[in-house]
């Protein structure tokens, strides 16, 4: 043991420890951090993969879905686990990759009743959901509980990613005040997605989480990266705090999580 690390951990995290910006101190911060992943699907899979590898000590995974063969085109952690709950499959993957990680699985849907209770145990939340109801629920609950949030979303060949530090920068509603009406956008099953796309966006989300936990670099606060795989372009869109934002504005209309605001659309 040196500096609280055993021989296996010294080897496992050596490439982190060598970095002046991380060191043993930073690695210990990661090991004592708790991150909640909303969804273990397209975005959640790469997030879980890299956060577990990085040694983020506690990973919460909430997903009520099971692995379908059609998921394996992009959700690479679930190989061999068709039919299993994604949260359980993800836990098995993590246990094989890094035994240092404590995994908490929630085989349920995130909803207005459970969201605040689940969020309170975590340092940061990663949204890997695929529907507007969950996305707005997660954004609002993060603002209300003052929990940082990594937002990512994908559509066909395009993705977007930003980091929300409530009350220190804009939230998702500052940019997109309300969800589009049901039927306006195709559901996740209908739209199609290039398999590598969530890998790119999810790994950017994981990068932001690691930076936030270490307290290094510049986060995507007030900036949204828009990625287009066909053009292979990354554009940065400035996001401004909206003083009329319904959840983080000067006179917010949403001050608590009420079920009726968050209708059901498609599943995580």
């Amino acid at each position: 043991m040196i500096g609280g690390f055993n021989e296996e951990q010294i080897k496992r995290y050596s490439r982190h420890i060598i970095l002046p910006e991380v060191g043993g101190k930073g690695q210990k911060k990661l090991l004592s951090s708790k991150v909640l992943c909303i969804g273990a699907g397209g975005l959640g899979a790469p997030v879980i993969e890299y956060l577990a590898a990085a040694g983020v000590g506690t990973l919460g995974i909430i997903d009520d879905d099971t692995v379908d063969l059609s998921n394996l085109q992009r959700q690479v952690i679930h190989g061999g686990n068709v039919g299993k709950h994604k949260a359980i499959s993800a836990k098995e993957f993590i246990n094989n990759l890094n035994p240092d990680i404590e995994v908490r699985t929630y085989i349920e849907r995130l909803n207005a009743q459970n969201v605040e209770d689940i969020f309170k145990d975590y340092d940061i939340v990663v949204d890997g959901s695929d529907n507007f109801a969950t996305r707005y629920l997660v954004n609002d609950a993060c603002v209300i509980t003052d929990t940082p949030l990594s937002h990512g979303s994908i559509y066909r060949f395009e993705g977007q990613v930003t980091t929300i530090i409530p009350h220190k920068g804009p939230c998702y509603r500052c940019l997109f005040e309300h969800a589009p009406p049901p039927g306006m956008v195709p559901s996740c099953q209908e739209a199609g997605v290039l398999g590598v796309l969530p890998g790119i966006i999810g790994v950017i989300q994981a990068t932001e989480v690691v930076k936030y936990l270490l307290g290094i670099g510049e986060l995507l606060v007030g900036r949204l990266i828009y990625y287009d795989a066909l053009n292979m372009s990354f554009d940065e869109i400035k996001m401004r705090w909206n003083k009329n934002c319904p959840v983080c504005g000067e006179e917010p209309k949403i001050t608590s999580i009420q079920e009726e605001i968050y209708g059901e659309s498609c599943r995580i």
């Binding site: 040196i2 010294i10 050596s14």
Partner: protein, 77 residues
């Protein structure tokens, strides 16, 4: 004033773990304290001091203690 010298024996360790372990040990010390590390891995004698200097630490001396045995003395910055 007496300066605390901590010893670290890294015989049998190779790069990059020689540096990783030296760095972890230094993190436990207070600024200004000294660390004396013993290596038997020849490349470490060049690599570790160079990496430590990059992180701002001071190399006080490198002594050859025997055939394939070196001691590097470091002051934590």
């Amino acid at each position: 004033m007496m300066i605390m010298v901590t010893e670290l024996d890294l015989k049998g360790d190779v790069c990059p773990y020689t540096f990783v372990k030296t760095k972890l040990k230094l993190e436990e010390l207070e600024i200004g304290e000294e660390l004396a590390v013993t290596f038997d891995h020849a490349p470490a004698v060049e690599n570790v001091p160079r990496s430590l200097k990059n992180e701002g630490h001071k190399i006080l001396g490198i002594e050859q203690m025997g055939d394939h045995l070196w001691k590097v003395r470091i002051r934590k910055a």
